[in-house]
């Protein structure tokens, strides 16, 4: 029972972060800031949801000899989270870079810098 409650809490926490990401996508002003929300609001949230799944798997854990298959499921979930941690920032970076190469204008706040504009090779 305790494991079920704990997993529900973890999954709900993950969903709150997902909601934050979705709200960010709608509210942020330009392509680059929206990529912040879309590409990375989901790192912590998917980790939390997967962690919740792992904890839920533990609910009928008896002993190692009986329930080792549950541990394998948890290891698979960990493999999925590792995959997320590598692919999610890579794809976010690839999209942002593609946006820059495609001359999408970033919205820069007043008085803040855009060093890439100054340094980038002229095209």
């Amino acid at each position: 029972m305790i494991f079920t409650i704990l997993s529900v809490i973890l999954i709900l926490a993950g969903l709150i972060f997902f909601l934050g990401a979705a709200v960010g996508v709608v509210r942020f002003p330009d392509f680059y800031t929206r990529m912040h929300a879309a590409g990375k609001g989901d790192t912590l949230s998917s980790l939390l949801v997967l962690l919740g799944f792992s904890v839920y798997q533990l609910r009928d854990f008896q002993s190692f000899s009986e329930s080792w298959i549950i541990l394998l499921v948890i290891l698979k979930l960990i493999a999925i989270s590792t995959f997320f941690l590598i692919t999610s920032p890579t794809s976010t970076h690839a999209l942002m870079d593609a946006g820059w190469e495609d001359k999408v204008k970033p919205e820069i706040a007043k008085g803040r810098s855009n060093h890439l504009e100054e340094d980038a090779p002229k095209r």
Binding site: A37, K40, H93, L116
Partner: protein, 179 residues
Amino acid sequence: MEKETTNLTLYRAIVFGLLMVIWVIFSGLLDGFHLTLGLISCGLVTWMSSDLLFDDREIGVRDRLRQAARISVYLFWLLWQIVLANLHLLKVAFGSADLRQPQIVRYKTELKTDFEKFLLANSITLTPGTVTIKILGDTFYIHAINDFAAKGLDGEMDRRIGHIFEGSKSNVDAAGSEA
């Protein structure tokens, strides 16, 4: 010369062992038939493409183990940073427009090898609020969503990643090109 061949065999054995562990985790079937299939396919992959993993075989296995231990410590620190930064981004997403000051900043790194730069770029992108747009030489161009996120780039990540690879000799040259 002698040492190099043992290193090579050892690396092959490690690659095979890693693949086999992954096979067992993903199959979950421990009967003779499936284990034999696993042995055959892991052996084939190791034979054909074991040099895709661990590109620099000059580094001793002891150094690799130390790197692995340090990387796990680093990952836990990074996870904690991700939690903190995600909480901040949640506030920005729901808060008013005053919380956003989008900007693109320069970030000079001391790191030399491609892998270190890859790790740093991915870590920067993982912590919400900052995304690496471009790497030109040893300068990173980072889009930060507000001043707080831009201030977070204080070189601590840089230092920690440098510490992981400290002390293990490597003769892979630093590639100055765009990553």
